[in-house]
């Protein structure tokens, strides 16, 4: 992990390092989101995951999410690290840290960022189950897209 606010890495994500990137004397609240590899999904057992990214564009999209966040919640600062490659159960796939003078914005901005990551950042997950493997497509839990993907209009909005 480097000092960059938006990173794709192939090494373990260190949360305390991520938090350091957003610490500021005027911040009173920092929220983090840590996405870990879950063993069970809808009754199916995951053995490990594999993440692939279109790295340069993924970094650009993470930075674009950062700009969206700092526009919507002006006093926040955000850092995002996503890991790629093979990940075992409980390892960290993504870490998001948001600092803010007040906590409400820190929660909202953080949740917004993970939703956007799942919409626009070119990263793909391959599930390796004990009885097979498959690349996962749209896995948004809350935002239904008829096409299984956000339209460009949504992406650019």
């Amino acid at each position: 992990m480097s000092d960059a606010l938006f990173e794709i890495v192939d090494v373990p994500v260190r949360i305390e390092q991520l938090i350091k990137k957003v610490e500021r004397r005027k911040a009173g609240a920092i929220t983090t989101f840590i996405g870990t590899v879950r063993e069970w999904t809808k009754g199916r057992r995951t053995i490990f995951l594999e993440y692939q990214a279109y790295i340069p564009m993924a970094i650009k999209m993470l930075a674009a999410i950062g700009e969206e966040v700092e526009t919507k919640w002006p006093e926040t600062r955000i850092a995002i690290t996503h890991r790629i490659g093979r990940l075992e159960i409980s390892e960290i796939a993504v870490g998001i840290a948001v600092s803010s003078p007040h906590r409400k914005a820190a929660y909202e901005a953080n949740e917004y960022a993970i939703e956007r990551i799942k919409q626009i950042v070119p990263i793909w997950k391959k599930e390796h189950w004990d009885d097979g493997e498959t690349w996962i497509g749209d896995q948004l839990e809350n935002v239904p897209y008829s096409s299984g993907f956000p339209s460009v209009e949504e992406v650019e909005s």
Binding site: M57, A93, I117, W135, G137, D138, S147
Partner: protein, 77 residues
């Protein structure tokens, strides 16, 4: 010539992550049709296209020298 990048199941379906195509100016829609035919890839209607790392529309123009990425529904996070 345009450079085409493939990811996830598309990469596995085609057997490589990068293709060089010797064609002139075209559109996203035309390029999708061409690849669909040439490599018999199903489900390209759910695939987004990025031209030089920016999301593009179906009628966006692709010029020789561009890098075109085929982006299946993402599943990061």
């Amino acid at each position: 010539m345009i450079k085409i990048l493939l990811f996830a199941h598309l990469q596995e379906a085609v057997g490589k992550g990068e293709i060089q195509l010797e064609i002139g100016q075209t559109t996203v829609e035309q390029l999708k049709a061409e690849l669909q035919q040439k490599y018999r890839i199903a489900g390209l209607e759910h695939v987004m296209i990025a031209i030089n790392e920016e999301y593009a529309l179906d009628n966006s123009i692709i010029n020789p020298g561009d890098t075109v990425a085929f982006i299946p529904p993402v599943s990061g996070g």
